[in-house]
């Protein structure tokens, strides 16, 4: 009888304690999970003047919160890709010697269409559209 009472008290205390613990831990775990922050929707950015970038060179342009690499292949050939390497998120750069997009972190290379040439990147870089309006270079998302 005594054991039965003790057992009941143990169950009640144990259940109460566990329930309390869950009720404390649940808000804490939810709190630690960062909420999704909506990014301002950017569809088009100005990448500067035409004369700012010489042929066979590239530069990183801020597109909303993401980096985009703008490459001037020749006088009239402009290209833009996501500058985030598809391997492990490093920011890529343009290699003027090799005429390729290169990631210094793990030596991944992409061609001037964004396709993987060598190294560990699993897929191609996302391409952006480039337009020249007067003397201004404008990068936009592909429709």
């Amino acid at each position: 009888m005594d054991t039965g009472r003790r057992g009941l008290i143990r169950i009640l205390l144990g259940t109460g304690f566990s329930a309390s613990l869950i009720s404390f831990l649940y808000p804490v775990l939810r709190f630690m999970d960062p909420p999704a922050v909506p990014e301002a929707s950017v569809n088009e950015v100005s990448a500067g003047k035409v004369q700012d970038l010489k042929p066979n060179s590239g530069k990183i342009v801020r597109f909303g919160s993401r980096p985009v690499i703008l490459i001037r292949v020749s006088d009239t050939d402009w290209r833009a890709f996501s500058a985030v390497c598809t391997h492990l998120n490093c920011t890529v750069q343009y290699s003027e010697q090799r005429h390729q997009i290169w990631c210094a972190c793990h030596n991944g290379t992409y061609d001037l269409n964004g396709a993987v040439v060598s190294g560990p990147p699993p897929k191609a870089l996302e391409e952006y559209a480039v337009k020249v309006r007067g003397d201004e270079v404008v990068i936009s998302r592909h429709a």
Binding site: P27, F31, M32, P34, P35
Partner: protein, 363 residues
């Protein structure tokens, strides 16, 4: 089956005991006792204060995940915590409420020590470390108050740090040190953040350890009248598990009160601080600074040849020093207790704090 379970548990306990020496701790705890008398309930407040401090540390660490200590981002980051982060409003509200409750229970603990005569020889150092901890708790309150970077906290910090500058000779140096510059601004916020999350917690943790060690060394004091009544043989209960389980119940009750207050009365954020805006009407500090705030309001700007603010600060310093030294003036040179004087002083201080805090709040 049951025998196997017990054996496995014993084996684990044995393994841990060999490495951690748990049996000596168990042996030590089995000898620790707590006096039983009509005022035993007051013994719980020290433990509740410690519990609320733990809540402060835990919720403070959580808030650090999102808080940004710069003048341009602090307010927005707290706003983000309260509106966007799941349960953010609750975590911040618990942090603010437990800070206030902790200071309240620390005061209750201090006055219970005075009225139960627990400061007596050989517990003077326990008293000093406790008073220092209360001072640190007020420091936590003052430094944490600025962190949301809202209007009220901004002006409270301006006034608070300006009071320091009234101290002769070193006043302006102290004010500059606190502000991190000539005026309250982004540098003050970064500095207060550093005090709040690194400097004060480090000192407080060390002092709590010292305080608990001293409590451990000298045991829990019984009031003299209980000792006299029982001929020095005050009934005792075992600390573990008897007092420990009661203390756990007290903590659970404190948690219930804290959770209810935080959920029913969420802590407000207010307006963002604007250094070029006027101080709003009816501005006053947190409740635990209201008594000195109201006292300073009453003192004229010039008393004889002395500046009023300086006189007020000098008065507070003398009062604080007199209170800290209580264990020394509580007995006369013959070693007899000045029981009436201590009780009278305790009642007078309590009456002053309550009355002036209420006046400061409502007038």
């Amino acid at each position: 089956m049951a025998t196997t379970t017990i054996t496995s548990r014993q084996r684990v306990a044995g393994w841990l005991d060999e490495r951690l020496g748990l049996s000596s701790l168990k042996e030590f705890l089995s000898h620790k006792t707590v006096p039983i008398h009509s005022a035993t309930m007051w013994y719980y407040f020290g433990g509740i204060t410690l519990f609320l401090f733990t809540i402060q540390v835990l919720t403070g660490i959580l808030l650090l995940l999102y808080y940004r200590p710069t003048a341009s981002e602090a307010y927005e980051s707290v706003q983000f915590i309260m509106t966007r982060v799941r349960f953010g409003w609750l975590i911040r509200s618990i942090h603010s409420w437990s800070a206030n409750l902790m200071i309240f229970t620390a005061f209750v603990h201090m006055f219970s020590v005075v009225f139960l005569r627990a400061y007596r020889r050989p517990r003077e150092l326990t008293w000093f470390s406790g008073i220092a901890l209360l001072g640190l708790a007020l420091g936590f309150g003052f430094s944490g108050y600025l962190l949301p970077w809202n209007t009220i906290s901004y002006f409270a910090t301006k006034v608070g740090t300006d009071m320091a500058s009234a101290v002769p000779v070193v006043g302006s140096t102290i004010a500059r040190f606190l502000r991190g510059g000539e005026d309250v601004g982004g540098a003050t916020l970064t500095r207060f953040f550093g005090f709040h999350v690194a400097v004060l917690p480090g000192i407080a943790t060390t002092l709590i350890f010292v305080h608990l060690m001293l409590v451990q060394k000298h045991g829990i004091s019984s009031p003299p009248w209980v000792e006299q009544k029982t001929g020095g043989k005050v009934p005792q209960m075992k600390f573990f598990p008897n007092f420990f389980l009661r203390e756990m119940m007290a903590w659970y009750a404190a948690l219930g009160v804290l959770g209810s207050l935080a959920a029913i009365f969420p802590w407000e954020l207010g307006e963002k601080a604007d250094p070029f805006a006027s101080a709003p009407a009816g501005i006053h500090p947190e409740w635990y600074f209201l008594a000195p705030f109201y006292t300073l309001k009453l003192i004229p700007s010039q008393v004889l040849f002395v500046e009023g603010e300086l006189l007020g600060l000098f008065g507070f310093a003398v009062l604080a020093l007199w209170w800290v030294l209580l264990p020394f003036w509580a007995t006369n040179p013959k070693g007899e207790e000045r029981a009436r004087l201590v009780t009278g002083a305790g009642v007078a201080l309590l009456a002053y704090l309550v009355t002036f805090s209420l006046l400061g709040y409502f007038r």
